[in-house]
């Protein structure tokens, strides 16, 4: 295992310590571990996310003005625990409540729901919105449902901007759900990653093989095929996204009247001729940014062929899987509201503009 680490058991804490001293607008707390903006969210809605570590810059790198107020990093690829989320939300929430942005992995969903229950018991208003944008998975009945991928980054950006504008909690939660319905992603891997704990690759991939439809936890994808050119890979991912049919599934949501979590049927948009979109061409961690531009070039062409115009783009490492080589593509349909909020100033370690 070739990593710049000291102790496989402590990597998350080690890294958080460095993160804390590197970014003076951000505080890092330990036991339970979380990252928060200095000053918290006082008079506006707090935006909080979290998930396993190993996806950096997600989520800690998006803490800062105009994006997340706090992030909870779990162990590598392991969702954080409810007490972390509880403490993080408590630390930053003012009287406007907290939006939790949750990627759809069993562990993240369950732990965030438990934390939401604890926060509610503590008198804090909390909404919990699930991001499930991975079009690689077609059905939700016989699986844990679509995973949360790159749309999470756009949801965090846009909701953070809405909070800065003073939106109330219900409106931001509705916005977050809209971004989720508007966003679709798919990824692939050229290599497996190695978690510090295991110390050897999570899956074996031959020198001539690749995995299509991977998540972000080093888990294998939905299909293994012979390695293809960047253009062919981009066609596969982009077509899955652009031709994805309206995806219907139940998403769990707190029902305040009933006082329980209920399943709400939720249906994605499909991309239509004339749509505008925000694109992310995301490196999985071990792929040079230069190669991502080859993918972006083809993506713009394929999107254009479908009548979809990319009006904003992020090309780089935004939601990673340790040192995995590979790429994921995200397209989020952009209406005027989303674009305005996307363009609003943001100042975080990983995303910064307008300030």
């Amino acid at each position: 295992m070739k990593k710049l680490i000291n102790n496989a058991e402590d990597v998350t804490v080690e890294q958080l310590q460095g993160f804390g001293i590197a970014h003076s607008d951000i505080e890092v707390q330990f036991d339970p571990n979380f990252v928060n903006v200095v000053g918290g969210a006082k008079d506006r809605v707090a935006i909080v996310s979290g998930g396993g570590s190993g996806h950096e810059p997600l989520h800690g790198g998006y803490v800062g003005m105009g994006m997340l107020d706090a992030a909870c990093p779990g162990q590598v690829f392991t969702s954080p625990t409810p007490d972390q989320m509880f403490a993080a939300c408590k630390a930053v929430a003012g009287d406007q409540g907290v939006l939790q942005i949750v990627k759809n992995y069993t562990g993240d969903v369950l732990n965030f729901q438990m934390a939401a229950d604890m926060l509610r018991d503590d008198g804090i208003d909390v909404r919990n919105v699930i991001i499930d944008d991975d079009v690689a998975l077609k059905d939700s009945l016989y699986t844990a449902g679509r995973r949360g991928l790159g749309t999470t980054v756009i949801a965090e950006k846009v909701c953070g901007a809405a909070s800065q504008e003073g939106w109330d909690l219900d409106r931001i939660a509705a916005l977050c759900k809209k971004v989720n319905l508007y966003g679709k992603s798919m990824g692939m891997a050229l290599t497996s990653c190695t978690t510090p704990q295991k110390g050897s690759p999570t899956f074996d991939l031959g020198e001539q093989e690749m995995e299509i439809g991977i998540g972000i936890h080093g888990e294998p994808g939905i299909e293994r095929t012979a390695i293809k050119s960047a253009d062919e890979i981009t066609e596969i991912l982009a077509n899955h996204i652009l031709e994805d049919e309206a995806y219907t599934r139940n998403l769990s949501e707190w029902n305040a009247e009933k006082g329980e979590w209920v399943d709400v049927e939720t249906i994605d948009i499909t991309f239509e001729d004339g749509d505008e979109a925000i694109a992310i061409v995301n490196g999985m961690g071990g792929t040079p940014v230069s190669e991502l531009y080859t993918v972006y070039h083809k993506l713009a062409e394929v999107a254009g062929r479908h009548g979809v115009k990319i009006v904003r783009n992020l090309v780089g490492n935004y939601i990673t899987s340790l040192e995995m080589a590979g790429v994921s593509i995200t397209l989020v349909k952009a209406d005027d509201e989303i674009l305005r909020l996307y363009d609003a100033p943001v100042n975080t370690p990983a995303l910064r503009w307008g300030i």
Binding site: T78, F203, G213, P220
Partner: protein
Amino acid sequence: MDRAMGGAPAVLTGSAVRRWVEKSAKVLAENRAYLTDLDSPIGDADHGNNMDRGYKAVLEKLPESDDIGELLKAVAMALISKVGGAAGPLYGTLFLQASKPLTGVREMDGAALAQFFDDAVAGVKMRGRSDAGMKTMLDTLIPAAEAFRQANGDGDDLAAALRAAVDAAEAGMKATIPMRAQRGRASYLGERSIGHQDPGATSSYLILQALADVVAEAP
């Protein structure tokens, strides 16, 4: 421990529950790499670390009490706050749900233990929106709970009924190999999840076996 004829304990005492927890921690530590390896081909290579970290925390938090409800609640809370992932809330809910009727209880007979297993299963099903045949820990827990209730009803002593439960658990665990996963991370793999033993089903088996061992070894 009280003993029925033949020297086998007739009830599970608070101190036996503590020994169970300690034994579970030991067994999970020993099987850490094994469980993580099982979680590699169909998961994210952390289950052994998660369970080991969780049970280490459990040991630190375990009260001196003999109140079984209190003990199991402490197990639940430690797992919930230290494991994370899917296994944390699921095992946490298992112990939390099963501990509820046991507050103030200092020893459990066969019937109480049968109820304990049923409550445990119900907790996981509720939290995980899952059931038998989905290639999860429930494929170990459900047959184990059923086998225990059966054996206990047939008049087996605790140790024998637990042996029956462990045998059923082992069969259930192995039965996950040909299953196609429908819950958890392995479900993303679809067909390709077939042929691999479920890590959570395996940790559940180890925890049940630890209980059977503790009761069998009981002084």
